[in-house]
Symmetry: C2
Subunit: 191 residues, 2 copies
DNA sequence: TAGTTTTCTTACCATAGGGTAAATTTCATC
DNA sequence: GATGAAATTTACCCTATGGTAAGAAAACTA
């Protein structure tokens, strides 16, 4: 919980009351590998802050194939933001890849925080700006890098994620099959 | 200018003073096909609101190949947000595809608006939420759709953009070559 | 440790898309 | 309308990746 409070304090002034409010709507939880926090097609009730562990967000297409949109590790947020912002049912499934410790927030209350404590607007605006930048970068990477280059970059961005997740989730994040990723890894090992 | 003011009013309360301020830092301009508003590698001074016309943002990779990140048409914003938020030099070039009418904002002043008129925080937060959603969707489309499917979707999202821009810019947005797009178009025409 | 399941690798063939080049069409300008 | 430039299509071959399947390795579980 402290990590999160410090994270918030680092980008906005946080009154004692605001801090108290955040703590009051937060629920610390331990979850197990395989647990599903949000299921595709259902209403999205919560947003999660990862204390430790590894969680991923994916969607399943018509053919039943999974596509990983995001991995969340220590100090990251994860939820189906599309569903929350558009007030729709979830298109994503959020699943724990490892046993994890998380902080659960009621998405509605967290969304209502702006009217109670307007100082959170700036905090969230800055968060969203960073989020937009990272998504822009991901799109540009997808456009201009080859699969091996994207894999290199991925390993740099998530240095020790390989110990958390099977490779086929990484392949699904990169937009290739696990067989292709395996070939890339074999090529890399030769060098 | 009215379009923009109405757009802002539709998502935040706008005091007379705030409106006055926005107008005071806005410069309406007519620009010509081929004009470059922001150049890759240089400082980003402005953010643009498109009144009409068509503008695109692209980056050039090591091999000299262009990759289109965004098209902006009527009522859209365009700039190098990565550069602005990270306070870096531009990685994008913003170029007018057609003669256009735009409103130019000094990016720094627009960024300083939050401290002067905090009511803009909510406006910008909501903008950014929508932006995040659209980027998420684009990434998911890239992951789960084939090139012909992405092209279909593109035509639905930008119904009459074909009259503005050569196909090779669309190909570059979709992440394929113009030759591939041409093949797709031939296939589509057969049906 | 043996057995079972999961993950990863390898192999084979099929295919979409890339690279280069040339032909064709469309568009702009005189 | 004639000329030249720009954009699109077509053709050729090549490569990266996909799909399916099977085998090998690793990770669990009893």
């Amino acid at each position: 919980m402290e990590d999160l409070i410090n994270k918030i304090k680092s980008s906005t002034t946080l009154s004692a009351k605001a801090e108290e409010y955040v703590v009051s709507i937060a629920k610390e939880k331990s979850v197990s590998k395989g647990d599903v926090l949000i299921r595709q097609g259902q209403a999205v009730k919560n947003t999660y802050f990862v204390k430790d562990g590894c969680i991923r967000a994916y969607c399943i297409d018509k053919k039943g194939k999974e596509h990983t949109l995001q991995f969340a590790i220590k100090n990251w947020w994860i939820s189906d933001f599309m569903a929350i912002y558009n007030n729709e049912l979830s298109t994503l499934t959020i699943e724990c890849i490892t046993d994890s410790n998380i902080i659960e927030f009621n998405a509605e209350k967290l969304n209502g925080i702006y009217s109670i404590f307007p100082e959170f607007e700036a905090f969230q605006r800055k968060n969203l700006e960073r989020h937009v930048v990272s998504l822009h970068k991901r799109i540009l990477n997808q456009l201009q890098l080859t699969a091996p280059e994207r894999y290199d970059l991925f390993l740099k961005q998530y240095p020790d994620i390989e110990q958390y997740t099977p490779n086929y989730h990484i392949a699904s994040y990169l937009g290739i099959t696990q067989q292709s990723l395996s070939r890339i890894r074999v090529e890399n090992a030769k060098k």
